[in-house]
């Protein structure tokens, strides 16, 4: 066992962990961050996605000790107190969650995409979320939700120029 310090959603958390513990287990079991889902355990479904430092990663393929001294963000971290983010509101209005199990990962991934690229094309959305699975098949509703947020945003002058 060794002690690690990880900043999770802006809050410093110190815990003893085993060297062979997954970041997924650390978040779910030791910190009880239950929005991070354990499903395939092999890096295929993407439902354990979290932001580690600057990148989205699949936490079932990361050791807890690797996160020592780093920042981790989950869906809780992107949500303002008592409010929903634009992409969360769009998920609700488009029925982009059916059973809801994969929703935290999709919200986090589409939120991150829209931060980096305010007006993603359909191809860019597909590529950015190609590591995520929704077994209810709400892909179309998710695409509509992303489009709504994208369209509601003002375009930069140079983007208008490019599209005219």
């Amino acid at each position: 066992m060794r002690e690690i310090t990880v900043r999770v959603n802006g809050q410093e958390r110190k815990r003893l962990v085993k060297d062979n513990e997954l970041l997924l287990d650390f978040l779910r079991e030791r910190l009880e961050v239950r929005s991070v889902k354990a499903a395939c355990w092999r890096g295929e479904c993407g439902l354990c996605t979290v932001k580690l430092g600057d990148h989205l990663v699949k936490s079932c393929l990361v050791l807890a000790v690797e996160a020592d001294g780093k920042e981790v963000e989950t869906v809780e971290g992107i949500t303002p107190d008592g409010e929903l983010t634009p992409i969360q509101k769009a998920f609700v209005s488009h029925g982009a969650a059916q059973c809801g199990f994969c929703t935290p990962a999709w919200v986090l991934a589409t939120h991150e995409l829209l931060q980096a690229n305010p007006h993603p094309s359909e191809a860019e959305l597909t590529e950015a979320t190609s590591g995520l699975v929704c077994r209810c098949g709400t892909y179309n509703q998710i695409r509509e939700a992303v489009e709504e947020v994208s369209q509601a945003r003002p375009r930069l002058a140079k983007e208008n120029l490019a599209s005219s």
Binding site: D19, N20, E21, G46, H55, L63, A128, S130
Partner: protein, 288 residues
């Protein structure tokens, strides 16, 4: 506290995070065959979950500065540090001139995996359906290896000895991949997947030089236990990319490339795919 099911825990190991290459080599010398080097970890962690590997020591080299560099070596080429992620490699035009590798890496798994996975790790897995080895062989790349006794460099084609079998001794570590200067090489990659990330057949092509000095490399992946070159297909396009030559190369490749039967596809289906991807990649290069 007990976590998960027995299938998804990891075997017990001691984790090490060396801060220099010397420190990493000292750890490797101390622990020998008991140690495994971890780059991005996506391969090693998956292997450990399946108990295909159970090292007593995991040496995480992500923060070893010597392995974090991408540098031009004058007169030689581009040296890519073993701990550089695939995502980092795909950014900022680092792989300009090496289209075949850029195209292969851009389709490895998904963006989240690519932000962790490394080129060196992808190569060292030496799994038959992994995409970077054919591209590296087509470019004539070599593997830079360090051990306590010194360094050595081996061509990628010889480094992969068989499925999950590489020319790396206990105590040694892959420090980087050397890509020779592209010198106007035209190259491209094509693969076929059936809706999963596993390639059923892939081809990497590199055309260097012109006129009589033209050299052609056509390397097929995911069809056999290791990447295979096809001299007959290379010969077919040696005097230029014409529609007739492309057809001949596709026919030759389909006939000569040894394809295996396995759970993913039959040999006959793979031979058909070889013809399809050869035609696609060469036609794309014709119009480039």
């Amino acid at each position: 506290m007990s976590f998960g099911s027995p299938y998804v825990t990891l075997p017990d190991f001691a984790y090490h995070r060396p801060k220099s290459l010397d420190e990493a080599l000292a750890l490797l010398k101390e622990h020998g065959e008991e140690a495994k080097v971890m780059g991005g970890g996506v391969g090693l962690i998956a292997f450990m979950k399946e108990r295909l590997m159970s090292p007593a020591h995991v040496i995480d080299v992500k923060e070893v500065p010597e392995l974090r560099q991408v540098r031009h070596v004058p007169g030689k080429g581009l040296s890519i540090g073993a701990a550089v992620s695939i995502k980092e490699l795909l950014e900022g035009g680092t792989l300009r001139g090496y289209a075949v590798l850029e195209e292969a890496l851009a389709r490895v798994a998904d963006p989240m995996i690519r932000s962790r996975a490394t080129l060196a790790g992808n190569l060292c897995e030496a799994i038959p359906w992994v995409d970077s080895p054919p591209a590296l062989i087509a470019l004539g790349a070599s593997v830079e290896i360090a051990g306590t006794g010194g360094t050595r460099e081996v061509p990628v084609s010889g480094f992969i000895r068989g499925p999950v079998d590489i020319d790396l001794n206990p105590g040694e570590i892959v420090t980087g991949i050397m890509l020779p200067d592209p010198k106007g090489t035209l190259s491209a990659f094509e693969k076929f997947t059936a809706g999963s990330e596993f390639s059923l057949a892939s081809v990497a092509v590199a055309l260097a030089g012109g006129g009589r000095k033209r050299s052609v490399a056509m390397v097929y992946g995911a069809v056999s236990s290791t990447p295979v070159r096809c001299a007959e297909a290379e010969q077919a396009v040696a005097d230029g990319l014409t529609p007739a030559n492309v057809r001949r190369a596709a026919d030759m490749a389909s006939e000569k490339v040894e394809c295996v039967d396995d759970v993913l596809a039959s040999a006959a289906y793979r031979r058909h795919l070889v013809k399809v991807i050869t035609t696609r990649v060469l036609r794309r290069m014709m119009s480039a």
